[in-house]
């Protein structure tokens, strides 16, 4: 066991692309965790998609032996936190495994929304924060202004923040020195106290079962020990304990203040929720660490195979993904327009995109995703409350007491000149201003917003309002009742499931018009004219009409053409299988995709 005063546990937090992963690599290299040859760049970002998108999806750790200038060896655990808003809960839990945090800020960009949001999470978790100014090798770097930014926007002292280049390695030893000198060692009731460890992360391995990353607070975690997750109640015997150097290396036990992994032949990742407390099953701790709640999906959408024949493949693939991602939910769903598919729940939009991308890339599936929606909380007239995942399930208005929707607290950092457009957008989206500050040439706005509005098209609109020069971050901010109604889309008088949506009454008309127009453009002319309507209850709030087809006949068809032209017809006939019938008209399924597809 390592003495507590020789241990430093440090998280790295930053806005995306500010150099978190590069900096982690440099630290590993400086401590000899991997030699140059083994460093493939950004070691801690393991998964393919992470590498490509530069997003850290799950927490990654490295245990480093740092020989300080006084000759003493320190154990430094570095945790690279998930860098995105959808994983806020995971971030806040993994932060609790540490005593300090490096806040990386790109000296050419300054403070961004995620910088602020993550720094605040670290402050809330009682961490000592070391600001680090990165990319000072670049000509556009302005370390002075960045220091001032940090003080103003984040509210922590930054006048002696270290300036480094993670890329060239310049001044990187100063970061290690500061970690040892400036961050506190872990506190503990000691190695003999009952085991109390924080479940920092878990991932599924097909050979080992679930691999759990844990931070020991009190007591010891050793091979052969029977442990229990205090939240989920699952109890298992540990068959392997190790640390990440960052290569996995076996150890006999983990003592107070240490971070490492263990396996216990666990097949179901749902037993191992991030934030849970691990204790000894036979000599349990009196109470769990505070604040555990399993993260729940807040954004839902339908996922359908583009080719109905792939349904079973999709089901199997979703099952495989779920093995490694307990926060992702799915259940079978049928849509008349799209056939058989699944209603899936995610922590947020990025989580949704990542899952979709994995399904397409790793499992080779071609998917149709319906427009994402949020989880509503519905209270019936009789007082019964339930969660609504699919707008089509909203009961008749007369049966409803109230409908509540999730709200978020959003932080937006944008150039001063674009502030007006940002504020207008937030107002359009039913936002309530919480705070407005100016940070050297830029403005930071904090708003409360309904999540549903953000999920709808907020990102695109923010991007166009600020020409891409805004950063945005949010966290959930509870549920609130609203004047929410279900809007159905009717084609030829029949509601198209999958196109129904819950909307705020005052926004319904505009939303309805937009969907009708989109459908009008997407549906090819038919033999009959086709009315498209948006309706709330029985009331039509928007309508469009697709005029009947007027001209569609081969000009010429002679002896030589017969078979060739028939084959053209055959192709149309085959398409018939993918038609959905609305009274007199048959509409190709593809036409709905435009209206169902994510974004525009």
């Amino acid at each position: 066991m390592t003495a507590l005063d020789r241990i430093r546990n440090v998280a790295i937090v930053a806005h995306i692309d500010h150099g978190k992963s590069t900096l982690a690599d440099r630290l590993i290299e400086l401590c000899g965790g991997l030699d140059r040859r083994e460093m493939r760049g950004q070691v801690l970002d393991a998964m393919d998609i992470e590498r490509e998108r530069g997003i850290t999806i799950k927490a990654q750790t490295a245990r480093l032996d740092y020989v300080a200038e006084d000759g003493r060896t320190y154990l430094v655990n570095v945790i690279d936190t998930p860098g995105h808003v959808d994983f806020t809960y995971e971030v806040s839990r993994s932060l609790r495994a540490c005593e300090g945090a490096l806040l990386i800020v790109d000296a050419t960009q300054g403070v961004e929304a995620q910088t602020v949001a993550n720094a605040w999470l670290a402050v809330e978790a009682d961490l000592e924060i070391l600001p680090v100014i990165n990319k000072i090798d670049l000509a556009a770097a302005d370390a002075g202004k960045t220091r001032a930014d940090i003080e103003e926007a984040v509210g922590i002292a930054a006048s002696d923040a270290i300036g480094v280049s993670a890329k060239t390695g310049e001044n990187m030893p100063a970061v290690l020195r500061a970690i040892v000198a400036g961050l506190p060692p872990p506190r503990s009731a000691g190695g003999d106290a009952p085991l109390k460890a924080l479940l920092v992360d878990s991932r599924y391995d097909p050979y080992l079962g679930v691999v759990i990353l844990a931070r020991v607070i009190d007591g010891r975690l050793r091979k052969g020990q029977r442990v229990r997750m205090m939240g989920t109640g699952a109890a298992r015997e540990i068959d392997r304990v190790g640390v990440m150097t960052p290569k996995p290396a076996p150890v006999d036990a983990l003592g107070p203040g240490e971070i490492g992994f263990f396996t216990a032949a666990i097949k179901d990742i749902a037993e191992c929720r991030v934030g849970d407390t691990i204790t000894d099953d036979r000599a349990p701790a009196a109470e769990a660490l505070p604040g555990f709640e399993p993260s729940v999906p807040v954004v839902f959408c339908g996922l359908y195979p583009a080719d109905a024949a792939d349904y079973n493949d999709l089901r199997d693939s979703l099952g495989k993904l779920r093995l490694n991602d307990a926060s992702f939910h799915f259940e079978p769903e049928t849509s008349a327009a799209l056939g058989l598919g699944f209603r899936c729940g995610f922590l947020g939009l990025l989580h949704l995109e990542i899952v979709q991308e994995r399904l397409e890339r790793e499992f080779g599936l071609d998917l149709i995703a319906t427009a994402p929606g949020v989880v509503y909380r519905v209270t019936r007239g009789d007082g019964e409350t339930f969660e609504l995942h699919n707008p089509a399930d909203l009961p008749d208005p007369v049966l409803i007491g109230q409908v509540e929707e999730p709200w978020i607290r959003a932080t937006i950092v944008a150039p001063d000149g674009r502030l007006g457009a940002v504020l207008r957008l937030c107002t359009d989206k039913r936002g309530e201003q919480v705070q407005l500050t100016y940070v050297g040439g830029r403005a930071m706005a904090v708003y409360r917003l309904p999540l549903a509005e953000v999920v709808f098209d907020f990102h695109d609109r923010l991007k166009s309002a600020t020409r891409g020069y805004a950063s945005f971050d949010y966290r959930l901010d509870g549920y609130r009742a609203g004047d929410l109604v279900r809007m159905d889309i009717l084609v030829n008088g029949e509601a198209v499931d999958g196109l129904s949506a819950i909307v705020e009454r005052s926004l319904a008309e505009g939303r309805g018009r937009a969907v009708c127009e989109k459908l009008k453009d997407a549906i090819p002319r038919q033999l009959f004219k086709v009315p498209i309507q948006a309706a709330i209850g029985g009331r039509i709030v928007a309508r469009e009409t697709i005029p009947a087809l007027r001209k569609d006949v081969l000009a010429k068809c002679y002896g030589g053409d017969v078979s060739r032209k028939r084959k053209l017809l055959d192709r149309q006939k085959r398409g018939k299988k993918r038609m959905r019938r609305f009274g007199n008209v048959e509409i190709p399924q593809d036409a709905f995709l435009a209206a169902l597809k994510l974004g525009d």
Binding site: L549, K551, L554, A555, G559, V562, R566
Partner: protein, 388 residues
């Protein structure tokens, strides 16, 4: 057992043109020189071969199509017609059509074709406007077209000509003027085609790039409706989607196609059809490339490339696709003969009910089917709905 049904025809393809029109996807080729003697010999040989394949049928029509058949020497036409007469019995009133381009029209040639036995000329006028003809890549101008028409009318008892409408930048008003002039010529037959953008043509590439200013669907429909009204008023109503005739002047050869009759195809890329009882039809296709075809004929007496049996649902689709192009549709007996028994069970019955109830199709008293004036201009969609 054979079943000729509505007559038997011989189609002869001449695959050469002076230049390639940018909208055309016919089997047409531009060659510096053509050894016409060799071609004459090959066409004659293949005609004899076809007579052996499809013996015993009285020939009701012969059609020289192209390409540009008016580039053939009259002697070649005569030699082929002789071969037809040797191979089959030719009806006294047989219709013998030749397609001609105005740019190669000469009084001398026309007289030669007439002497060889051609009794119907189909002239590819396409437009009566110089700018439009240039845009269509044609080698003649409007004056040339008018002159060729005059020559043709003097030389042949029956004359038809083709026009293409819904061209780039064309308005319904302009088409109305052009069509009125065309009707004033007083021919007994007119083929009026909406411009089709065919894959593999230069127009296709241009259209995809958005570089062809084509009328939108509503404009096309307006021109189509004008066409119906004007031709009807002039006594040449449509008897087929794009074919207009004074009664009695219909193209008998083309009717054989639309009624799913039998024909043989001679020459490069020509298609033929021979039917069997029970709704089975055999399609023959000749080699498409002129040189390949010529070499095949000299080696083995014919240029056959493939034969394919069409039956069941495919056959029904073809019969309806062709037959519903006719104003009169197809009678119950014609349908049963061409499609085989039980064909009704193989179409989309619910679709037929909707189409009939909404007035796109009409059920005939004898069990036949007909597309109505409402169904005709949207026949592709009607067929897609009708075929199971």
């Amino acid at each position: 057992m054979t079943d000729a049904g509505p007559g038997f025809g011989v189609y002869v393809h001449w695959p050469f043109c002076r230049s390639r029109c940018p909208y055309c996807d016919f089997n047409s080729h531009v060659r510096e020189a053509v050894d016409e003697a060799a071609w004459r010999g090959a066409l004659v040989r293949e005609t004899a071969h076809m007579a052996a394949v499809a013996p015993g049928r009285p020939v009701a029509s012969v059609y020289f199509g192209g390409g540009t058949p008016s580039l053939m020497a009259p002697a070649t036409v005569a030699a082929v017609l002789d071969a037809v007469a040797r191979g089959w019995t030719v009806a006294d009133d047989a219709e013998v059509t030749l397609e001609a381009n105005p740019s190669s029209a000469e009084a001398g040639r026309f007289a030669g074709y007439r002497a060889a036995g051609v009794n119907r000329l189909s002239l590819g006028v396409q437009a009566l406007d110089d700018g439009a003809l240039r845009a269509l890549g044609r080698r003649h101008d409007a004056a040339g077209a008018r002159a060729a028409l005059g020559l043709a009318r003097r030389a042949f008892p029956r004359v038809s000509f083709d026009l293409i409408y819904a061209r780039m930048g064309q308005t319904p008003a302009a088409w109305e003027r052009e069509l009125s002039e065309a009707l004033d010529f007083g021919t007994g037959h007119l083929s009026l085609y909406q411009l089709a953008i065919e894959p593999g043509t230069r127009f296709h590439v241009l259209a995809r790039r958005g570089a062809l200013d084509l009328p939108a669907e509503d404009g096309q429909a307006a021109m189509y409706e004008l066409t119906q009204a004007l031709t009807e008023a002039a006594g040449l109503p449509a008897y087929e989607v794009s074919s207009h005739a004074r009664p009695g002047f219909e193209s008998r050869h083309n009717l054989t196609y639309w009624r799913s009759g039998e024909w043989v195809g001679v020459g490069p890329g020509a298609h033929g059809r021979l039917n069997r009882a029970g709704g089975v039809s055999v399609q023959r296709r000749q080699e498409r490339a002129p040189e390949t075809w010529l070499a095949a004929v000299s080696r083995r007496g014919h240029g056959g490339a493939a034969a394919e049996t069409v039956a069941g649902g495919d056959r029904i689709a073809e019969v309806l696709m062709m037959g519903l192009r006719l104003k009169d549709g197809l009678g119950g007996a014609d349908l049963a003969r061409a499609c085989g028994p039980g064909w009704e069970a193989r179409i989309d019955a619910a679709g037929l009910d909707v189409l009939a109830a909404e007035g796109f199709l009409e059920r005939l008293g004898d069990g036949g089917l007909r597309a109505t004036a409402r169904g005709w201009p949207v026949l592709n969609a009607v067929l897609a709905r009708l075929l199971a």
